[in-house]
Each structure stands twice: as C-alpha cells, then as structure tokens.
C-alpha cells in the first residue's frame, strides 16, 4: 500500500480541528499540504429532518447513548464534518479569567485567550437575540430568576438567519448556526486545505504515519460519501495535530504506540447535567424559538450553572425521573413545560479518565465527587425556586421523594431536595461539555502537552481540542476551544519549517 504524504495532518474537524484547518490555510499558499481527516460524514442541511431518533442515530456517537463505564451518565458528542458544532446550541461565551488563572498553565495567559475568543465571537456572528425572538420558555426563566433573586444573563448565540425551529441539537435545518461546518472548514477548503470525511484514524506511529480507515456510506444512510475510496489508507505527515475531541483524542493516542506522558486520558471533566422541567398552568411557547438565551452563573459560589433549554419528546421523557402516572402527567403537559439545564461544575480528578478497551474503543471512567453532587443538589434547589418564581405549578426535582413538587412545597425546597436523594442509576445524568484527557501543563510529570498543545517530548505531535483543558471550564466551552486551537495553529506555523521530513 503506497502512503500519501502531507506536511500537516489534522485529525478531527470539530471546534478545535475546524479552527486549526482554517488557521493553517495561509500555509497552503506557500505550498504546504494540509489534510483534515474526519471520522464522520458531511451532511446537508436538507438532511436534518428534526426527527429525534433518526437524527440522533445519524449524528451522535452511539446515537447519543454512550455511557460511562459504570453506566451512570450519558455522554453526547457527534461525528461529522464540523464535529459536535453540528449539534451544539451555539451559545458563545469567552474563556472566564477566574478559571484560566486557576488552571495555572505556564505560558497560557488569559489576555491572549481573550483576544482570540473575541476574534472567533465576531467571526461566528455571536450576538444577543432581540426580545421579539425570545420564546416563553426563555422569558419565564429570566422572570423566575429575578423573582427568586438570581441574576440571569443573556447568552450571545452564533446564528445568521435563525428561524427559531428549536432543533439545534439535531442539526440546524436552516444552516443558521455558525459552526465550523459553516464557517471555518469551508473557508479552509476554499484555500486548498483537503478535508476527507468518513476517515477514522486508527493509530499514529512513531514514524509519523497514520493508519486511516475510510468507510463506505451504508445504503440509505444520511451523509455524503467519502472523498477517498473506502478501505485502509496510510498517510505520512511531518506534523500531526490531534483534534478528535475529549474522548477521541486520548483514545486515539492510547491506541497508538507512542512514548506518551502518564497523564494521558486523566483529568476528564464534563459538566454533568440534569434536564429539569416544570409544568405551568397554561401552554407556553417552548418548542419554537431558539432554545437557549439565558443563564444563571453560580459556578464560583455553588458549583453550578443553569441554562434555558428545550428538548425533544424522548430525551425529555428519559430525563424525567421515575415512571408511571406522575411521569406520564408531566409528559402530557408537554405544551406547558418550562425546561432548565443544570450543569454541575466538576473539577478534574486523576481517576476520572478516558481509557480504551481491548479493541481500542473508548471507555470513560467517571465517579461523581461529593463537590459535584453538591453542585447538582444546589442547582436543583435553585431551579425549583426559579420555576416556582416563574409561576410553575409542578416542578421535577430528582433528589426529592416523590420527585415532583407542587406549589405547596415551594417553601420547603431545602428540606425536600437533599443529598440523601442522590442514588446513581436512578437519575438521568448526561453531559455534552467533554473536557480534558490531554491536559496542558508544565511537563510530562503533570500533563500531556505544553501551553501550545505540543505533546511533551514529541514536537511533531500536537493536540488542539477540548482535551487540552487541565480542569473544568465552568461555562460553555466551544469558544475557548477555538481560542486554544488558534494558538496551537500559530505554534504549528512557527515550528513547521524546523521539523524534518
């Protein structure tokens, strides 16, 4: 099998990989060959039907049902041209100074990240929606937060021509969300960067060769065919930039026989989340309008963030604790439901980690620390206050027994929602902000890469995605990932000439 040669190979095309692809495009004009290998397919907006099961199957790893090793949490991430930016909601916040300072990565300065974040916020058209574009679900959150004494802030969202279909997490049918599939990757391709989809990198060898499996599209499946012939291909690179996501990057590196730091895979965080719902006495607009416009940030004091959200029937049913009549009653009230996404701000611990099984597939070991559980309990209480403050009659509170509180319990929130109600396996916990596993840091004794994403001891190998985070970010991460990836690309441009063929 003859190998294809490139100067730079980027693995993955999500928030990180898409950013790197565009930021390296200037090199193409100088004759540098840049290739992006992406495991998932390219999709057209016309393929996004909004049908929950169909789209989850097409876009998400394990149809969105990927479980942690002990089966107590579901992790959501996509495989596609554009990675998880295809399914994200597009809330766009810059890296928080407090967190970047706490990370204490030598050589990583908040001011530098902030400048890069600002650039990508502009490039992606992040802006506040006008009041006329907000639905009741969002307005009630802001009103309820005010009534309960919380500060609700409005999220900038990165849309152009949003019609308010509320289907962001199933792929935008209107091409409105400005993910890397819409902005950075097309720009990179126009400049001559080659992007090959349905191309999964199986291993990276010490001689800088990559084994790539290109898959055929299953008959009738969504997505375009690959640009390359299906089969196994060898690719040789001068520099490899791994941007396969916080699960994909550690898993790929663990499968590869490379001399890698012991911290690889460790320190995985994910903002474990609960979808909470409450029934109002009358129908509200919830399944129309952009789903996410407000948040309450209690990360620094209470380890949680609350966001507006809107989910689809099965996802909602799965999130509602219990079964039988009380569950059915909330589902029957779907048109009256207000929803809040509660994110716990978990901190990196070494044992929460990405590993691989004998077949090289990712396995995520995750244990909820007391602090994380505390964030979930405190956030459930705050959500109940906001729901009641907004006028809801019945509130889902997974830590209470029974798990639905009616208005008469609004004065007993602290005594009804307690730590005692936490029993893993009974409450649906999911996470979509996957972070860490190839942490930046000082040297190989405490981390995997330096502050420019260069893997310690292997100058030709770099990481450029959410796996770089040495600890949780405590806010929605995609803009910070783009800013970090932009730094990695800058370092790559600087160092490429010095790397021998």
């Amino acid at each position: 099998m003859s190998a294809r040669r490139y100067d730079v190979v980027v693995v993955g095309s999500g928030a990180g990989g898409g950013t790197v692809a565009q930021a390296l495009a200037t090199l193409v004009r100088e004759g540098v060959r840049v290739l992006v290998l992406e495991q998932g397919p390219r999709f057209s907006a016309a393929e996004f039907t909004g049908r929950e099961r169909e789209m989850a199957g097409a876009l998400y790893h394990d149809s969105g049902g990927f479980l942690t090793a002990d089966g107590t949490m579901t992790l959501a991430f996509a495989h596609a041209y554009g990675g998880s930016t295809l399914v994200y909601t597009g809330t766009s916040l810059p890296a928080p100074e407090r967190v970047i300072r706490r990370w204490a990565v030598p050589g990583l300065d908040h001011g530098d990240l902030a400048r890069r974040c600002a650039r990508y916020l502009g490039e992606n058209n992040a802006h506040l929606l006008s009041p006329a574009e907000l639905n009741d679900n969002n307005r009630l959150f802001a009103a309820g937060a005010r009534a309960a004494g919380y500060v609700a802030e409005q999220f900038p969202v990165n849309v152009r021509g949003c019609k308010g279909s509320s289907l962001c997490n199933l792929g935008c049918p209107n091409d409105a969300k400005q993910g890397t599939n819409r902005v950075q990757l097309p720009a990179a391709e126009r400049s001559g960067v080659e992007v090959v989809t349905r191309a999964e990198v199986l291993r990276i060898e010490a001689d800088r060769s990559l084994t790539v499996r290109v898959s055929e599209a299953a008959p009738g499946a969504k997505g375009h065919p690959s640009e390359w012939v299906p089969g196994v291909h060898q690719v040789i690179a001068r520099m490899v930039i791994v941007a396969a996501g916080a699960i994909g990057s550690p898993a790929l590196l663990l499968r590869s026989s490379l001399p890698l730091p012991r911290a690889l895979g460790r320190g995985f965080t994910c903002h474990p989340a609960l979808i909470l719902v409450a029934a109002h006495p009358r129908p509200i607009t919830n399944d129309v309008g952009h789903p996410k416009s407000y948040f309450v940030d209690r990360a620094a004091d209470e380890r949680f963030v609350l966001e507006t959200c809107m989910y689809f029937p099965f996802t909602t049913a799965k999130a509602i604790t219990g079964f039988g009549d009380s569950h059915a009653a909330l589902m029957r009230d779907f048109t009256n439901l207000q929803m809040i996404l509660l994110l716990a701000c978990d901190r990196a611990v070494a044992d929460n980690r990405v590993a691989v099984d004998a077949a090289g597939r990712p396995v995520v070991h995750y244990r909820f620390t007391e602090e994380t559980i505390g964030g979930l309990v405190a956030g459930t209480r705050a959500s109940a206050r906001i729901f009641f403050g907004a006028g809801a009659e019945r509130v889902l509170a997974p830590f209470a027994d029974p798990p639905v509180l009616d208005r008469s319990a609004s004065g007993d929130i602290d005594s009804r929602i307690t730590r005692r109600g936490w029993l893993p396996g009974t409450i649906t916990v999911s996470a979509a902000h996957l972070m860490g596993g190839c942490a930046m840091g000082r040297d190989a004794s405490d981390s995997v890469t330096d502050a420019w994403g260069v893997v310690h001891g292997l100058p030709w190998l770099r990481v450029a995605d959410a796996s770089l985070f040495p600890d949780g970010l405590e806010i929605n991460p995609y803009v910070t990932i783009m800013a970090l990836a932009d730094r990695v690309a800058e370092g790559a441009r600087r160092d490429l000439a010095a790397l021998a063929d």
Binding site: E52, D62, G71, S166, D287, V288, A317, D325
Partner: protein
Amino acid sequence: MARLARARSVFRAIAVTVVPAAAALDDGAWRDLEAIVEDEIAKRPARVQRQILALLRAIDFLPLARYGRRFSALDRARRTRFLHALEHAPVLLLRRGFWGIRTLVLMGYYARPAAATAIGYRADARGWEARR
C-alpha cells in the same frame, strides 16, 4: 422482531407500567413501538443483547417468590411496586438494568411521531413561520 418476541409478554407488561397510556395502543402502534426497541437492541453488542433478554426474563420470574405470580400476571399496583423496588435496588447493577429497560420503553413510546403529536410537540424546521 426475533429478540423481543422471546420476551414479548413481560416487555409489554413493563411498558404499560412505565407508560400507562401504552395500554391503549392498537396492534399497529405496538408494532411501531417494538420495532424501535428491537432496532435499538440490535445496535448493541451480542453480550448486551443477551443481558437485556436475561433481565427481562428475571423481571418476569422474580415476583414469583414474593407474590406467587409472574410479573406479567400481576395487577398494576404490584407491578408498580416491584419496578419501584428495582429502580431503587441497593445494587447499582440492578438499578442500571432497570434504567436501561425504562429507557428502551420510553424511546419506543415517545420516539414515535404519533406520540410526539399526541403530547402536542410541534417543532418545525420553519420555526416561528409555521406558527403564524
């Protein structure tokens, strides 16, 4: 329908306990629900498929010891009590097992377009335009 067919009566008994409205489904709707569940089970590795069937059978037979009847022959109140005990079992493996079966039932029921319409879910690619 090969896999689920081997445990159909207990699966349906669980389904109507988890989603009471499922009791009113006609044959066609049950076929749709079970096709979704069957398809979902088929995506799992063979080992997990065997575990799901074993758990369904265990749910059917375990109540024999306590109530002298199989799960599928219990009345609604006893079925609910039994599943509630499983949901809160001291052993994580059992809780997880029930959570998994519950998830399959909810998917089979609520991922059907008819169920989405019945609860009033109307999201549309045209967004606000579709409501004017």
